[in-house]
């Protein structure tokens, strides 16, 4: 039974204040939801408690007495276990080794006790055995697993700490519904055992399903805590965004846009690793949605169209002209654009100025060899304000921006020279509500100006609110097309879970 109290936690990275004043009171036997738009400081607060980030100020009280957490080891010793959003797995080690890595069972505290290690890991693997999917076993190296399976390993690793205080920083972002349900069952059991649990998620439905109390963080400051039973989504969102405009997504039924008849992108019989026989057309001015459970081939199809992933059958045509799409270079040259939700992997050039992050597509599409800084800066400045990007100057390193603004810079690079087709692969993953609103407003405008847009989103509400037509993916194939009034949450769920 542990009660944790954090008061006035503060952390700055250089000039950027990541956490201004973090307060949190965590009670035994509760699931305490921490919510706030991205960059609001949730993860920093968690990492301070877990010892992996050193706070500049603030105090932590465990069961009423002040404690000093000098590092992750110290946190563990105090009974704090954590699930890291970015995962803390050793890719080449096995599932079992990863689960036990924080405290390897030993013989004589020198040699690894293999039998004990495997027995311990088996207990946690067992709990998810029927929802973990193919290829998941105790001796599988983690790098051979899918994203959702890796997330499960990180969950098991946190659970294996057996700590009275457990922190889960976005543990469900890659999980499918069955996996989330199983995880919630376990959380409820832990809660009943009297453990204190912090749970972070961007999905409102999950928060209201599992949470007991909710603490809202805005701009690095704790705004308030309330009981889940005494609040509702609207008021939580109001607390999250404060005085700003209501960022609630537009009406559930989007206006039926007059799509121009000409197809700007036609895909026929496309098959490759992770998807098969996918065919569709996108008209100018249309936003086509890709729906379904996570990882059913939506992303693979987009990357394949963009030339980043090979396809072994089928054709791709832009404006009626068939193109091989052997590389992103070719796709870009033909007016194709792709924005990945994994911006730190596929998007941003870390440590480089905003200017260099905005210009690579411009260089390629205009076949430039020399840089003329003045005219280049002028061009780079055009798309950034349209996205309401907040930045001080083009020389500012991209890392100093918040996640949402980083993503805006990445999107801006495609808009200097207008593409014909824009592929959005879960573009709002991990960015805050205000930035999302800005993005979708822009996307609609781009469509109205004649661009063909394909949108995949892991949030159903985003799809329903913004896509004119939705293709539902299941196991790599399109299983259903939702148009007009069919675009309902019920239909989307139904199609996604069919035969799944």
């Amino acid at each position: 039974m542990s009660e944790l109290l954090i008061r006035g936690a503060r952390k700055a990275y250089g000039a950027t204040l990541a956490l201004r004043r973090g307060d949190l009171r965590l009670l035994p036997g509760e699931v305490h939801v921490l919510i706030g738009s991205n960059g609001s400081g949730k993860s920093t607060l968690c990492k301070i408690v877990a010892g992996s980030v050193k706070p500049d100020a603030g105090e932590v009280l465990l069961n009423g007495s002040p404690v000093t957490i000098v590092g992750p080891q110290a946190a563990r010793a105090l009974g704090i276990g954590i699930f890291y959003q970015e995962l803390s797995l050793a890719a080449r080690r096995t599932v079992a080794e990863n689960i036990c890595l924080p405290a390897l069972p030993t013989k004589g505290s020198v040699f690894v006790d293999r039998a004990a290690l495997e027995a311990k890991a088996a207990r946690f693997i067992e709990a998810f055995a029927d929802v973990a999917g193919d290829g998941f076993s105790a001796d599988a190296p983690v790098h051979t697993l899918r994203a959702d399976q890796r997330q499960l390993v990180e969950i098991m690793k946190a659970l294996a700490s057996e700590a009275p205080i457990l922190i889960f920083d976005e543990p469900t972002s890659a999980l499918d519904r069955a996996q989330v349900d199983r995880f919630f069952e376990i959380l409820r059991r832990l809660k009943a055992e009297g453990r204190a649990i912090v749970f972070i998620s961007h999905r409102m439905d999950e928060i209201f399903t599992i949470g007991d109390r909710v603490t809202v963080i805005r701009d690095g400051e704790t705004v308030g805590t309330s009981k889940i039973s005494e609040t509702d989504q609207a008021s939580v969102i109001r607390q999250m965004v404060g005085e700003r405009d209501d960022p609630a997504t537009p009406a559930v039924a989007p206006p039926a846009h007059q799509a121009q008849p000409s197809a700007v992108l036609s895909v026929a019989g496309l098959s490759g690793s992770g998807f098969r026989n996918v065919s569709f057309e996108v008209a100018r001015g249309e936003i086509l949605g890709f729906g379904g459970l996570h990882g059913q081939g939506q992303s693979a199809v987009m990357r394949s169209i963009f030339g980043a992933l090979a396809h072994h059958a089928g054709t791709i045509a832009l404006n009626g002209k068939q193109i091989a799409m052997k590389s992103p270079r070719e796709a870009i040259a033909h007016g194709c654009a792709y924005v990945s939700g994994d911006r730190s992997r596929d998007g941003i050039l870390q440590g480089r100025p905003i200017l260099e992050n905005v210009t690579p597509i411009h260089f390629l599409r205009n076949r430039l060899a020399l840089v003329r800084p003045s005219s280049l800066r002028e061009r780079a400045m055009q798309p950034l304000p349209a996205l309401k990007t907040k930045f001080q100057g083009l020389e500012q390193p991209i890392n100093s921006l918040s996640g949402g603004n980083q993503q805006k810079v990445v999107i801006a690079r495609w808009l200097i020279d207008r593409p014909d087709v824009l592929l959005l692969d879960d573009p709002t993953k991990g960015i805050d509500l205000a930035a999302k609103t800005d993005l979708f407003a822009l996307i609609r405008k781009l469509a109205e100006n004649g661009m063909g847009i394909v949108l995949y989103s892991s949030e159903d509400a985003e799809l329903l609110n913004n896509a004119d037509r939705i293709l539902v993916f299941n196991s790599g194939s399109v299983t259903r097309e939702l148009t007009g009034a069919d675009r309902t949450r019920y239909n989307l769920y139904h199609a996604a879970y069919e035969a799944a």
Partner: protein, 330 residues
């Protein structure tokens, strides 16, 4: 957890301190300090002609480091250990082609630089097409080059530098500066132009900072990386020709002494080995710093052993100023 510490942590560090922390500035200050120290230990150390002599030595190192610098900025553990072998090979080839005749200088440079670029091309192709880590590929290539040197030394008579080349390297050329220093300045300008004013330069930083993102933004990652190694080979070969001019005749393995120091010069100049950052101006200062340091140690009368210990320890101390990685617990 320090609860009461650092009220002032978030206060923006003053501009002056930021300025003083820049690697280039640190290197320049250290150069001044070392010159003063040298002058104090042995009067005449910081005389104009002595400094010129140091700069001539530094320029050879600096030219090797130019290619090394590009490879390192390009990231993905970019490093070129084969430059040591290429410098030696280029010196021998150039010596044989010109063999003491001024008319042979141009063909000699052409041959040497092409061969250097060719080996760079092999490196680049192995690293990009077969995805061999640069350290391994260039290490293996170094072994090949060293073997090749043995063959060449046995097969053909060793050549001599043409008088004009020696003059260019060692004698005053314009405004009292030897030609090689002008060449180095020109290379400095070329590097600045390449990195700041060409799309190629922007793309070097792009692949160095995030190769996958660069690929997704249509940067021809492999072509750029091959280009970097070709340039590195060419620069090393050019340095080899200069070295021939400096020493008059080529002897075995002259280049090996440049292999790791060229990397140190880059690091002291503020380009981290992780890539994606840095530039050549700092590297030039780093090369000068290294050469002055070595020269001071030869000036003072201590044994070879003491000299090496002081040199090693000083390098470690200097690295504490720059190349430190980030703490795990930020």
């Amino acid at each position: 957890m320090s609860t009461e510490t650092a009220v002032s942590v978030t206060a923006a560090p003053s501009k002056a301190i930021e300025f003083l922390k820049r690697p280039l500035v640190v290197a320049l200050i250290l150069i001044m300090a070392l010159l003063a120290l040298g002058e104090a230990l042995s009067p005449g150390f910081a005389s104009a002609e002595q400094i010129l002599r140091l700069l001539v030595v530094a320029s050879v190192m600096g030219i090797v480091a130019a290619g090394q610098n590009l490879v390192i900025i390009g990231g993905r553990e970019g490093i070129d250990l084969s430059v040591g072998g290429i410098v030696s090979l280029a010196a021998i080839l150039a010596g044989n082609v010109m063999n003491g005749a001024d008319s042979g200088i141009l063909p000699a440079i052409l041959v040497a630089v092409s061969v250097g670029a060719l080996f760079g091309l092999f490196n680049g192709l192995g690293i990009t097409l077969l995805r061999i880590p640069p350290l391994v590929m260039t290490l293996g290539m170094l072994g090949v080059l060293q073997g090749l040197l043995v063959v060449i030394r046995n097969g053909i008579p060793s050549g001599r530098a043409a008088p004009a080349l020696s003059q260019f390297v060692t004698q005053p050329f314009i405004f009292g500066l030897p030609g090689i220093i002008w060449l180095w300045i020109a290379i400095g300008l070329f590097m600045a132009f390449l990195l700041k004013r060409t799309v190629f330069g922007y793309r070097i930083y792009a692949i160095g900072s995030n190769e996958q993102a660069a690929f997704m933004a249509g940067v021809p990652v492999k072509t750029i990386r091959v280009g970097l190694f070709v340039l590195s080979g060419a620069f090393a070969a050019l340095a080899g020709v200069c070295l021939l001019g400096y020493s008059g005749s080529s002897f075995s393995n002259v280049g090996e002494q440049y292999m790791l120091p060229s990397i140190i010069a880059v690091v002291l100049g503020g380009t981290p080995l992780a890539g994606g950052k840095g530039g050549y101006t700092g590297t030039m200062a780093g090369a000068v710093l290294l050469v002055i340091l070595q020269s001071i140690l030869t000036t003072v009368h201590i044994d070879e052993s003491g000299r090496q210990m002081v040199f090693g320890a000083t390098l470690l101390l200097l690295m504490l100023f720059y190349g430190r990685g980030r703490a795990m617990r930020g």
